[in-house]
């Protein structure tokens, strides 16, 4: 399959704290991220809070401008596009956000919320809007009878379905899903994941799926990128691949099985996550890594993939 998305050496720096008495400090929220997403595949991005997952998502959709690097969508260099061209392209790449409450305007009926992407793009659906909205609502498992309801009249899971219906309105090929179930109960999370699986096969969608939940990512995705403090530290080519990076192993060992017969021995983890503002030289995981050597504290390991299973570590497992 051709690559729908190609991300090359993408970086984003944020600076903060600059003022008359304080020196501005800058941090790399996303640091040299590269990967390919072939059409029809699902890549998961996993990592702990603040590692740069949402920033990466926004960069890919060009909702924010990168500090450096490149993104190609369907062979097109996104960063070379004018705002008008970008707006057109965005119809084909959509995002679903974590918080279903903030994604829809509370004053809009569901009809208006689902029709909004057409207005924004200035396009008319092929059939009457009411029919189009009804079909979109049905597609995400909502009763079209809800069309005249307001967001406060529906549940969190139903709101997330509306968020997905909006994202699907313009028939995109890529969906970037940023923790789409993080605020939902597990029974509702399972419904939404089931829906996303169905939509993928029915509509031939490609997903970039962001989550902090490794079990969920393993269940849902074909490949997994593990991020730590802005960098991709490992790219698991399939969900059964064993960890080669010590951080990935720590993540796996910290993720419990829903089976009391498979309890984990939790190894004590020394050290704290360093502040992204004063990252030490070398590998960012060195303070917490049982394998760390002197080399690790001076030289940043690059992501290398001789075996087809890329890892950024001087002493991979």
């Amino acid at each position: 399959m051709p690559n729908l998305l190609e991300v090359r050496d993408l970086s984003k720096r944020f600076s903060s704290g600059g003022g008359p008495f304080r020196k501005a400090r800058s941090m790399h929220a996303v640091n040299g991220v590269s990967f390919d997403l072939p059409e029809g595949r699902v890549i998961g991005v996993v990592g702990e809070s603040g590692c740069g997952k949402s920033t990466l998502a926004r960069l890919i959709l060009r909702l924010i401008e990168p500090s450096s690097g490149a993104v190609a969508f369907d062979g097109d260099d996104l960063l070379a596009k004018t705002p008008a061209q970008m707006r057109k392209l965005r119809a084909r790449m959509q995002m679903v956000f974590q918080d279903p409450y903030s994604a829809i305007d509370p004053r809009y009926t569901l009809t208006r919320a689902v029709a909004e992407p057409f207005e924004v793009q200035g396009v008319k659906p092929a059939r009457p809007m009411a029919e189009e909205v009804a079909e979109l609502l049905e597609m995400v498992g909502l009763n079209p009878g809800l069309a005249s309801s307001y967001p406060h009249q529906i549940s969190g899971g139903q709101k997330q379905r509306v968020g997905i219906a909006r994202a699907l309105a313009l028939r995109p090929s890529l969906l970037v899903l940023d923790e789409p179930t993080a605020s939902l109960d597990v029974s509702v999370q399972a419904q939404i994941i089931g829906l996303l699986e169905d939509l993928r096969t029915e509509l031939g969608l490609t997903y970039l799926f962001i989550s902090h939940d490794l079990s969920l990512v393993k269940y849902f995705c074909d490949e997994i990128l593990v991020m730590y403090l802005g960098r991709v530290v490992e790219a698991l080519p399939d969900t059964a691949a064993p960890a080669r990076h010590p951080y990935t192993r720590t993540l796996m060992e910290s993720t419990f099985e829903p089976d009391p017969k498979k309890r984990r021995l939790i190894a004590p983890l020394e050290g704290e996550v360093p502040s992204p503002f004063d990252l030490p030289p070398g590998c960012a995981f060195a303070d917490r890594c049982p394998q760390a050597s002197a080399l690790c504290r001076t030289e940043t390991p690059a992501l290398s993939s001789e075996t087809g299973h890329a890892v950024a570590c001087h002493h991979p497992l």
Binding site: S187, A190, Q191, L214, E257
Partner: protein
């Protein structure tokens, strides 16, 4: 150590909690698990005697701790128990920490108040406890303010405060929900060690079945303000008898098991104003029959386990 029987709670005319029972012994961890709004926190608040604070009251049942019924305990006596023999850890460590006060004095206060120690004794105890919680350089940490620490470190300080009073029972209400998984694993390890080393009775409240499987000896599954099934952890995971427990387990994504498809449970968790009559799970239950909409089921006991379902025996025969 702690035994709750048939607990019911009301706010005015609404009764968000009823018929909740469980017990926990020294050296034992019991998990209370359920989705949002199932009544887990209200259960914790009831045991801590904090309901009057939020305008609620106990409508029935008993909470027996160390031989006395806490539902009859006057507030003065409760104040000694709370944060003393019974400790509480909540999801947000900042509900227990004073942002304007250094860590050392905050932890010291507990031993001074509950154990009658003087300042020096209390500080020695504080540093010792911080040490056992694997907090590096306790003396240095004592001199810090809460905002100078990570979330995981703050949660450890809250645990230290609970331990400083030398409690018999610790109630932890989603103690790791706001934390990253690697930090969660460290806190879980810590709580496990404490239960074993100090012979604590731990009530671990969580919405995460995997955390329950990892740490608990016994489990209570709650739904819509009721306990619907309880038993030893192995029984609950191997042979769940209540359709809700079965469905809840089927909702957990299992990394490498690609064959099982996640389908979720139809519908949504009810809120207190629309708790269903009869069996609270009947609008979402794949096994519901006419009787389920009218008659609340009673517990069907089997060994140490019990499930509140009209068809618990049948459900057992044909697992979902």
């Amino acid at each position: 150590m702690l035994s709750v029987r048939d607990l019911g709670v009301a706010f005015g005319a609404v009764e968000p909690l009823s018929g909740v029972s469980f017990s926990v012994d020294k050296g034992e961890t019991i998990g209370i698990v359920g989705e949002s709004g199932s009544g887990k926190s209200l259960t914790a608040m009831s045991v801590m005697g904090l309901l009057p604070l939020i305008g609620g009251r106990i409508t029935g049942g008993t909470i027996v701790f160390d031989g006395q019924d806490l539902t009859k305990l006057p507030e003065r006596a409760y104040r000694k128990l709370r944060g003393g023999k019974i400790g509480l850890i909540t999801q947000n460590p900042m509900t227990s920490l004073d942002p304007l006060k250094k860590i050392g004095p905050q932890v010291d206060d507990v031993a001074r108040l509950h154990l009658g120690m003087n300042a020096n004794e209390a500080r020695a105890r504080t540093e010792e406890i911080l040490g056992t919680l694997r907090i590096p350089e306790p003396a240095l940490i004592c001199d810090r303010y809460p905002h100078q620490m990570s979330g995981g470190m703050k949660q450890r300080i809250v645990i230290a405060m609970a331990l400083a009073a030398d409690p018999d029972v610790l109630i932890a209400d989603e103690p790791t929900t706001a934390l990253d998984v690697t930090v969660q694993a460290q806190i879980i390890r810590l709580l496990d060690d404490l239960v074993k080393q100090r012979d604590l009775a731990l009530v671990l409240i969580t919405h995460d079945m995997s955390v329950v499987a990892q740490t608990c000896d016994k489990v209570v599954v709650m739904y819509a303000g009721r306990a619907v099934e309880y038993g030893p952890v192995e029984a609950i995971f191997d042979r769940p008898r209540h359709p809700y427990t079965q469905a809840l387990i089927a909702c957990i994504p299992r990394g490498l098991d690609d064959t099982a498809r996640l389908t979720g449970i139809e519908g949504t968790v009810p809120t207190v104003i629309n708790y269903p009559k009869g069996c609270p799970f009947h609008p979402r239950c794949p096994r519901a029959e006419a009787i389920c909409a009218t008659d609340p089921p009673t517990f069907s006991v089997e060994g140490d386990s019990a499930a509140a379902c009209h068809f618990a025996e049948v459900a057992h025969a044909q697992p979902a």
